[in-house]
Amino acid sequence: MSVASHYSYWITVLLMTAGLYIVIARGNLVKKLIGLAIFQTSVYLLYIAPGKLIGGTAPIVAEAFKLYSNPLPHVLILTAIVVGVATLALGLAITVRVRETYGSIEEDEILAADRDDPDGA
């Protein structure tokens, strides 16, 4: 019962480990970034879920409502999302340039290229 009632945490943990696993296990630079994004998403959930009160409304003062959700996690996560988007964009931009330089986005192929030609072009 208590295990099931914390399902949001279970989802968080699942996303977290899945994301991290992808980052570590995949050699493809884009797939790594996808893993990273999933990993970051788990954090959004970690913050947002506890801030929600069942039956609560948006924290805008009005006569009819007495119960409000905590707005602070939303604000924080809005910032975190922006940061995440920026990271993802930057990561993809770097990947594009890696692809242009090396002709590949597979990590082992890139490392092999560097081993064969240490000084690079």
Partner: protein, 493 residues
Amino acid sequence: MILEHLPALQVTVPLAAAPLIVLVRQSTVAWGVATAVSWFAFAAALLLATQVAGGGPVSYALGSWPPPWGIEYRVDALSAFVLVLVSGVAAVVAPFAWRSVAAELPRDRVYLFYALYCLCLAGLLGMTITGDAFNLFVFMEISSLASYVLIALGRHRRALLAAYQYLILGTIGATFYVIGVGLLYLMTGTLNLADMAARLPALAGTRPVLAALAFITVGVSLKLALFPLHLWLPNAYAYAPSAVTAFLAATATKVSVYILLRFYFGVFGARLVVGELPMPEILLALSILAIVTASLVALWQADLKRLLAYSSVAQIGYITLGVGMASRDGLTAAVVHLFNHGITKGALFLLVGGIALRAGRAGFERLQGLGQVMPLTSLGIVLAGLSLIGVPGTAGFISKWYLVLGAIEAERWWLAALVVATSLIAVAYVWRFVEAAYLAPPGAATPQPGEAPRAMLVPAWLLVAACIWFGLDTSFTVRGARSAALLLLGGAP
């Protein structure tokens, strides 16, 4: 009026400089703005440090929302000390960048460099000054994102992959940190560090708090490149543009150490971290591994820049060793080494930047006979290298003194022996440079055009002089570090 708003200006002025530079897009103006802003930040940090030394911690409420509701900027003995280091190094690197960046980057990207430089500086200063755990995360990401791009600007194609790896590991580190903060927020309902510290003792030992400690430790350790989480560092330092390497090596990891110190002793409290958990033992073990393995790896590098990068991993080990001692002298050693290693590595990487300008790269085959071709650069590297070893009369000696003193006072003689014995490895790798530069005739690969331009030598030598000066006169460094250590251990401010 300006004085009371210094904490805000310290961060926002560099932050405002970045978009200004993007709007102007002109490289000379960009350089001028970046330099002016760095020196402004340095002056502000010095003023703040004197304020703190005179009248205790300075608190600044952003938007006039009093803490813990609003974001608080808080300058105490420790953060003032780190602010001086970060802004000081920035103030020296900015003039250096003028020639170095012009040579290493395509013309149309130069303004971008300076914009990112200001952004990175603002992020690092913000991390140091803020008293809010989430605001810290935001500044951490500002500085990290800027530094990923700065590293990717490197000439060598490997810079791209280095930046990518740093991006992945840095983001994982920052996310771990923010998970830890989230758990703390769930438990305490506050994000203000001081407020958190006041509420945590009641919750000490609960599982979310322990998990938070673990997440924050791993996250920050990734950022500060604690062995074995250092894998991103050597490539990032080796392939970034010279000015970037110097700046990041001297500041970025140091600020991360600051965060570790802040959370361990300022938030979780020494009683939990040192008294109940085996964190000191873990840190000591990892630091020793870092010092020994990274020093040995450094010894076998074929490129001076990579050698210095690995040496950074080892030197960070010395810092965390001091943290792991968790005593007054140990923490003094950690804080003072944070500063001393910052200026030493800054000086070394700036000088290597001069070599990179003339020789393209700093492979040892290009350093043959460098003592004749670039006498001032070589002499500077030797002097800063002595500081790296910890020869008396240099800044590095002071750090080693306190490390050994801390070990002896704890009656850990083996640790004292280890610290001094490992500096012999530093002797060996510094001496590789000396023998190449002074005992070999100039070879075919040695750069011919001669000494680095004055615009690069003067800033580098400023830091070299600082290495010597802070080895002879420690009234600023050791006093600052001592009061920071006392503050962390909960003594007098």
